[in-house]
C-alpha cells in the first residue's frame, strides 16, 4: 500500500531533485543524452557567483521577500490573531474578511492588485491625480518599486494565513494559565509575552517555517506582473527562465535550483525535526 505512492514520490519528486544536483555540474542544453563530455565541474557555480548579473539581484529579492514577510506580514497576522482571540462582537466577521484572500489563487491576487497599481488607470495613481501627468509612478514597471507592489499583494494573502494558524494555536492554550497570570496581577501584554508565547513554541516553529518556505517559493505574482523581469527577478524565476526558455541552459539553471534547494533545506529540516518528534 505504501509502495505505489512511495514509488511515485521517489520518481517524480526525489529523483528530479537528485537529477537537478547532477545536472548542475554539466553544460547540458536539454537536447540528447547527458554524456561524460557534458560534465564541467563547478563552472556553473563559478559563473553564477561572479559572472551572471541576475543572480545576486534575484538572491537579494528573495531575501527582501523573506524579510518583509518575517518583519511585516507575519507579525501583522499574529497581531490580528491576538486581537481576535477573545470574546468580542464581530470577531468572526473580522476573521472571515482577513482570511478571504487565502482561498484565492495567486494569479487572481496578482490581477486584483494590478488594478490598484496599474500606472495609467489603476486606482492609486488615479487618486493621486498623476495617472495622466508626466510624473506618473510606474508601480509595476519601475524596478525600484515593483518588488514592493508584489510584496503588498502577497501579504494580502499571507497575513490571513498566518492569522488562522496562530489563532488555532492560541485557542489550544490552556485558559487556566491566563487566569493564573491574571490573578498574579500580570498585564495582558505581560501575560502574552511570558505565558502564552512560550507555550506556543510548536506553533511558532510552524509559522517560521511557513514564512520561510513562502518566501523561497515565491513565483506566481512576480510572473503575473511582468514574467519576473526588471526588478522582479527571483531564484525560482531564474530557474524557470534558464532551464525552460529557448536558451535552455539546463545545467546552469540547475545550479540555481541547487542553491534554492540548499537554502530550502534549512526550514525543511527545522520543520521535520519538530514534526517527527510528535509523530514518533
Amino acid at each position: 500500500m505504501v509502495g505505489v505512492p512511495l514509488t511515485l514520490d521517489l520518481v517524480l519528486i526525489w529523483g528530479p531533485t537528485l537529477a537537478s544536483v547532477v545536472l548542475s555540474f554539466t553544460n547540458w542544453d536539454g537536447i540528447g543524452p547527458v554524456t561524460n563530455k557534458n560534465f564541467i565541474g563547478l563552472k556553473n557555480y563559478q559563473f553564477l557567483f561572479s559572472g551572471y548579473t541576475l543572480f545576486w539581484p534575484a538572491f537579494a529579492h528573495n531575501l527582501i521577500w523573506l524579510a518583509w514577510l518575517t518583519f511585516i506580514a507575519t507579525p501583522l497576522g499574529m497581531f490580528f490573531a491576538v486581537l481576535l482571540d477573545r470574546e468580542m462582537r464581530g470577531a468572526r466577521i473580522y476573521q472571515s474578511v482577513f482570511f478571504l484572500p487565502v482561498v484565492l489563487s495567486l494569479v487572481v491576487v496578482g490581477f486584483i492588485w494590478e488594478l490598484q497599481f496599474a500606472p495609467t488607470d489603476g486606482f492609486i495613481n488615479s487618486v493621486l491625480g498623476i495617472s495622466k501627468s508626466s510624473n506618473v509612478i510606474d508601480w509595476l514597471g519601475n524596478p525600484r518599486i515593483n518588488l514592493f507592489v508584489a510584496l503588498v499583494a502577497t501579504s494580502w494573502r499571507h497575513v490571513g494565513y498566518i492569522m488562522i494558524l496562530y489563532l488555532a494555536g492560541l485557542k489550544s492554550v490552556d485558559p487556566s494559565l491566563r487566569e493564573a497570570a491574571k490573578v498574579d496581577g500580570a498585564t495582558q501584554v505581560q501575560t502574552f509575552f511570558s505565558v502564552v508565547l512560550p507555550v506556543m513554541a510548536p506553533i511558532n516553529v510552524i509559522i517560521v517555517v511557513v514564512t520561510a518556505i513562502e518566501a523561497l517559493r515565491a513565483f506566481d505574482i512576480a510572473f503575473i506582473i511582468n514574467q519576473g523581469k526588471n526588478g522582479l527577478e527571483l531564484l525560482s524565476i531564474l530557474i524557470y527562465s534558464n532551464t525552460l526558455s529557448e536558451a535552455s541552459l539546463v545545467g546552469f539553471g540547475s545550479a540555481i535550483a541547487v542553491i534554492l534547494l540548499v537554502i530550502s533545506l534549512g526550514p525543511i529540516i527545522l520543520f521535520l525535526s519538530r514534526a517527527m518528534r510528535t509523530l514518533a
Binding site: 472571515s96 482570511f99 478571504l100 494569479v107 513565483f219 510528535t278
Partner: protein, 291 residues
C-alpha cells in the same frame, strides 16, 4: 472602541481591492476611458464585461478543464495519502518515520527545484493512447493523446496527486495516530485483510479529517499556476488560472475585462470558502496544532 475602530479600518483596507475589482468589472470600458477609472458611473453598471469574457474567452470551457484536473486530483490524493498515513501510523515497521519524512519534505520543496528534470520525465515516459471522450467541443483524452505525460490531463493530475500526497499524508498521520492501534490489531486477528481495515475501519473514523483535507486540496489544486504553466502546452487543456495569464496579453485589452475574468476565476474557491469555511480552516490547522 479603539480596537473596533482599528479592526474596521483594517477590514475596509482588506476588502477594498476586491470591491474595486468588482466595481471595475461592472463598468463599461468606454465609461472608464471617458471619465477615468476613479469616477461615478455615468452610464450605469452592467454585466457586459462578464458576458464578453464568458463567451469570447471561453470561461466555461476552462472551468471544465479545471474540474477535470481537480476532482480526480483530490480523490486520488486522499486515497494515496490515507494509505500512507494508515501504514505509517497503524503499524510499527522500521522505516515508517523515514517514509513519512520523505513525503512531507517533498511537499515543502519549491517546485522550481525539480521542474526541469520533471519536465524531462514528462517528455520521456511513454503512455498509451486510449482515445478520448468527446462532449461538444470538449475532448477529454483517456490517458494520453500524444503518448506522453507532457501536455496531458493525466500528467498534470499526477504531479498534483504526488506533490499533495506529501502534505495530506502528513496531516492525516497526525490525525490517525490518535486512533488506537488496537483497532487494527484486533481486526487483523479476526482475519480481515489490511486493505479492508483501511477502507472500512480506519477511513470512516477519519471522516472529519478527510472532509477538511478535501476542501483544502480542492482549493490548492484549483489555485495552482506553476505546474500547469510548465507541464501543459496546449491552451485547450489549461485550467482557468493559467488560461487567465494567457488571456492577459491577448484578450484582456483593458482592466475592466481583466477584473471580470479574475473574479469569474475566483467564484468556485469563494463558494467553497463560504459553504465550507470550517472544513477549510480545520484542514489548515490540523497539520499545525497537533504537529
Amino acid at each position: 472602541m479603539i480596537l473596533h475602530a482599528f479592526l474596521i479600518a483594517m477590514v475596509a483596507l482588506w476588502l477594498f481591492p476586491l470591491f474595486w475589482a468588482v466595481y471595475s468589472s461592472l463598468r463599461p470600458i468606454s465609461d472608464t476611458i471617458q471619465h477615468g477609472s476613479v469616477s461615478w458611473p455615468s452610464n450605469g453598471l452592467s454585466f457586459a464585461n462578464y458576458q464578453t469574457v464568458w463567451t469570447q474567452a471561453d470561461i466555461p470551457y476552462f472551468y471544465i478543464n479545471t474540474l477535470v484536473i481537480v476532482i480526480p486530483g483530490v480523490i486520488l490524493t486522499l486515497l494515496l495519502a490515507s494509505m500512507v498515513a494508515f501504514c505509517c501510523t497503524q503499524f510499527s515497521w522500521k522505516f515508517n518515520l523515514i517514509v513519512l519524512m520523505l513525503f512531507t519534505a517533498g511537499n515543502l520543496l519549491p517546485p522550481q527545484v525539480i521542474i526541469r528534470p520533471l519536465y524531462w520525465v514528462y517528455l520521456n515516459t511513454p503512455i498509451p493512447n486510449l482515445g478520448s471522450i468527446d462532449i461538444g467541443k470538449f475532448s477529454f483524452a483517456l490517458f494520453s493523446d500524444n503518448n506522453l505525460l507532457y501536455d496531458q490531463y493525466i500528467g498534470i493530475i499526477l504531479i498534483h496527486v504526488v506533490f499533495q500526497t506529501g502534505f495530506a499524508a502528513f496531516v492525516l498521520s497526525n490525525y490517525m495516530k490518535t486512533i488506537t492501534k488496537e483497532i487494527t490489531e484486533s481486526a487483523l486477528v479476526d482475519g480481515a485483510n489490511v486493505l479492508r481495515i483501511w477502507w472500512s475501519v480506519i477511513l470512516p473514523l477519519c471522516r472529519p479529517a478527510l472532509a477538511a483535507m478535501a476542501t483544502l486540496l480542492f482549493t490548492f489544486i484549483y489555485n495552482d499556476f506553476f505546474w500547469a504553466l510548465v507541464l501543459l502546452k496546449t491552451g485547450d487543456k489549461r485550467p482557468i488560472t493559467t488560461a487567465l495569464n494567457n488571456l492577459q496579453g491577448e484578450f484582456f485589452v483593458n482592466n475592466n475585462l481583466i477584473a471580470a475574468g479574475a473574479l469569474l476565476a475566483c467564484i468556485p474557491p469563494i463558494l467553497i470558502y463560504i459553504l465550507l469555511q470550517k472544513q477549510f480552516v480545520a484542514g489548515l490547522t490540523l497539520g499545525s496544532t497537533k504537529g
